[in-house]
């Protein structure tokens, strides 16, 4: 396997002076292409912080970050925006979908924002993805009318829209009941096997972590296991 991304000596501090929170303190991590990894650690250990940095949503205080051969620290906002659009998919725990749009419109968004319109090809792929997520009968539903599990499956479909190399999921099952959580994890596992998409999934649930090939544990601002 080849390295999809590598971070070295990563530091992230929120705030300054007395109120400064030093979340990441020299963290090193390498993800191989095609991995399905769980990110474990107690609440407040910096899982979300690490995911936002790997997702180029924010920059570390210091350290190096290379993904697909690109220096992600040096890149500017416009380059990072385009990079995210093409190579990284996201599934969040909260505020996942655009509430005023249908399931299909949400899924198609990453393509439409790049193309400037919703192309027929993107719509066809969106329908495909939603069907694979078991949502064939919810394609044109307003997302406000979907259940929590259905919303997360729409989010997974959207994360896959532009066929990214990496999908970052921040506690994607945190708000779901066990059955819905298992269904979502099942689908993620299938995509990982079928398409070789790399997944990094933060969770504090050992059962969910057990479904992944690799477990990465963070503590005290570094990877401890």
């Amino acid at each position: 396997m080849s390295a999809l991304l590598e971070v070295r000596d990563l530091f992230k501090t929120y705030g300054t002076g007395d109120t400064a929170t030093r979340v990441l303190r020299g963290l090193n991590l390498r993800l191989e292409a095609g991995e399905m990894a769980a990110l474990l650690g107690p609440s407040g250990s910096g899982k979300s912080t690490l995911l936002t940095i790997l997702g180029t949503l924010t920059k570390p205080t210091s350290g190096s970050f290379v993904m697909l051969g690109n220096d992600m620290i040096a890149a500017g906002d416009k380059e990072l925006t385009d990079f995210r659009n093409a190579h990284i998919g996201f599934v969040f725990q909260f505020h996942n979908l655009l509430p005023d749009f249908t399931a299909l419109e949400n899924v198609v968004f990453p393509s439409a924002v790049r193309e400037g319109r919703e192309t027929p090809a993107a719509r066809a792929r969106g329908r495909d993805l939603l069907t694979r997520m078991g949502l064939a009968d919810r394609i044109n539903f307003p997302t406000a009318n979907l259940s929590g599990g259905q919303k997360q499956r729409v989010a997974v479909a959207r994360a896959l829209m532009n066929s990214p190399e990496l999908v970052l999921a921040d506690e994607p099952t945190g708000n779901l009941d066990r059955a819905s959580a298992m269904q979502v994890m099942d689908l993620i596992g299938q995509i990982n096997r079928d398409e070789g998409t790399t997944f990094l999934i933060s969770t504090h649930d050992d059962k969910i972590a057990g479904l992944c090939q690799r477990q990465i544990v963070v503590g005290d601002g570094v990877v401890t296991g």
Binding site: R84, A86, R114
Partner: protein
């Protein structure tokens, strides 16, 4: 950017009640703008039609020729002047100029006239009168004589005279009676009273008489030419330019009505300024309303903006989504307000039928296109601040709770 427009539209339709309220607010502002335009425009029209509707817009008057100076062989200067006769300046070439002046763009009517002073006598009664000889058929070209007739007809023919109501009353004259007119040149003629007018203007009704041009020729011993050419224009504001044009073309001293009407123009200007002031306030209200509503919307939608940014929407895309919302609100509010304004102005009498006591609203001066255009521009400007604030939402906002 078509896609950003779709998102903007969806944001507006997702919150129909709020959007309707906002559009209504904008429409009210536009309504006020249009109402003010129609009122100020109608008022100016009304005042102008009352003050200069019946007067010549461009007037050419004959200039007195300086008496010829002769230098005698002995070095004296000789002034050649006729004695004992009223000198009358004439526009001898009038017949040549008339068709040319009539062809000047914007000229609605041209009336060559011979004017002079005289006395009316009937029995023992004598009244001073100012006689205007006009071409038959052009009696109503400048002053709407026909419209002011209370008895008889405005039509002037040979041997006929039309007088003002006061003058006729003073001399106890009725239609069909004959009276003697003696001009300042000493010519006397017996004329038949064929019509009486009442303009409501005392100076006019008590001292003016109209005859045909040929009668005036006889009275004032002027076998050719005229003393005055009055010109009516389609557009009052064009008087200065048209007068200049006629001067350049004919070399005659054409004077626009605005010469000597500075006070009126100042008053109208002040009125127009008031209108601009109120209209500007209406626009500012629109801008503030749209800006605050959109700013609120950007705060409410921060998480969504974060999600869009995380999914690969650039700052420009976000800006466009909010500016497009502003433009759409401006367009909808502008069109609605313009339509409401138009409908509200429909019951007012048209500009030709203004009556004292009612607001002289002019529906044709509502500036509908300008109101819509300025509103859309204002709404776009209003959305720039919220749009920039939206574009500053960091993508990391998406991951927060």
């Amino acid at each position: 950017m078509l896609y950003a427009l779709k998102i903007a539209t969806r944001y507006l339709t997702a919150n129909k009640a709020q959007t309707a309220l906002l559009v209504t607010g904008v429409a009210v502002g536009v309504f006020i703008f249009i109402f003010m335009s129609a009122l100020i425009g109608g008022l100016a029209e009304f005042i102008l039609s009352r003050t200069v509707g019946d007067i010549s817009h461009v007037t050419i008057e004959a200039e007195f020729d300086d008496p010829p100076l002769l230098i005698s062989p002995r070095g004296h200067v000789l002034v050649v002047a006729e004695r004992g006769r009223t000198r009358t300046a004439t526009l001898t070439e009038a017949a040549t100029w008339l068709p040319l002046i009539e062809a000047v763009p914007g000229v609605k009517a041209v009336s060559p006239q011979i004017t002079g002073a005289g006395f009316l006598t009937r029995g023992a009664q004598v009244a001073q009168v100012s006689v205007t000889g006009v071409e038959p058929g052009r009696e109503s070209a400048i002053l709407d004589l026909d419209g002011y007739m209370v008895e008889g007809e405005a039509r002037l023919g040979s041997g006929l005279i039309v007088l003002g109501r006061e003058l006729a009353d003073d001399l106890a004259l009725t239609i069909g009676q004959t009276l003697r007119v003696q001009s300042a040149n000493g010519v006397t003629a017996a004329l038949t009273l064929s019509g009486i007018f009442d303009t409501g203007n005392g100076g006019m009704d008590g001292a003016r008489a109209f005859t045909s041009l040929s009668t005036a020729r006889t009275l004032f011993a002027m076998p050719q030419g005229v003393t005055r050419i009055e010109i009516k224009l389609g557009e009052l504001n064009a008087a200065d330019a048209t007068a200049q044009r006629i001067r350049a073309m004919t070399g005659l001293d054409a004077v626009p009505w605005t010469d000597g009407a500075e006070q009126l123009m100042e008053a109208l200007n002040a009125q127009a300024q008031t209108g601009y002031f109120l209209k500007t306030f209406a626009l500012i209200t629109i801008v503030i309303g749209v800006a605050s509503a959109l700013l609120l919307s950007t705060y409410r939608r921060r998480p969504e903006i974060g999600i869009m940014r995380a999914m690969g929407a650039g700052r420009r895309f976000v800006i466009f989504v909010f500016v497009a919302q502003g433009a759409l609100i401006g367009l909808m509010g502008g069109v609605t307000g313009a339509a409401l304004g138009y409908v509200a102005l429909l019951p007012f009498p048209s500009r030709d039928a203004f009556e004292a006591g009612t607001l002289p609203m002019d529906i044709t001066q509502g500036s509908y296109g300008l109101a819509i255009t300025l509103t859309v521009i204002g709404a776009i400007l209003a959305s720039i601040l919220p749009a920039r604030s939206a574009a500053r939402v960091e993508p990391v906002t998406a991951i927060g709770q």
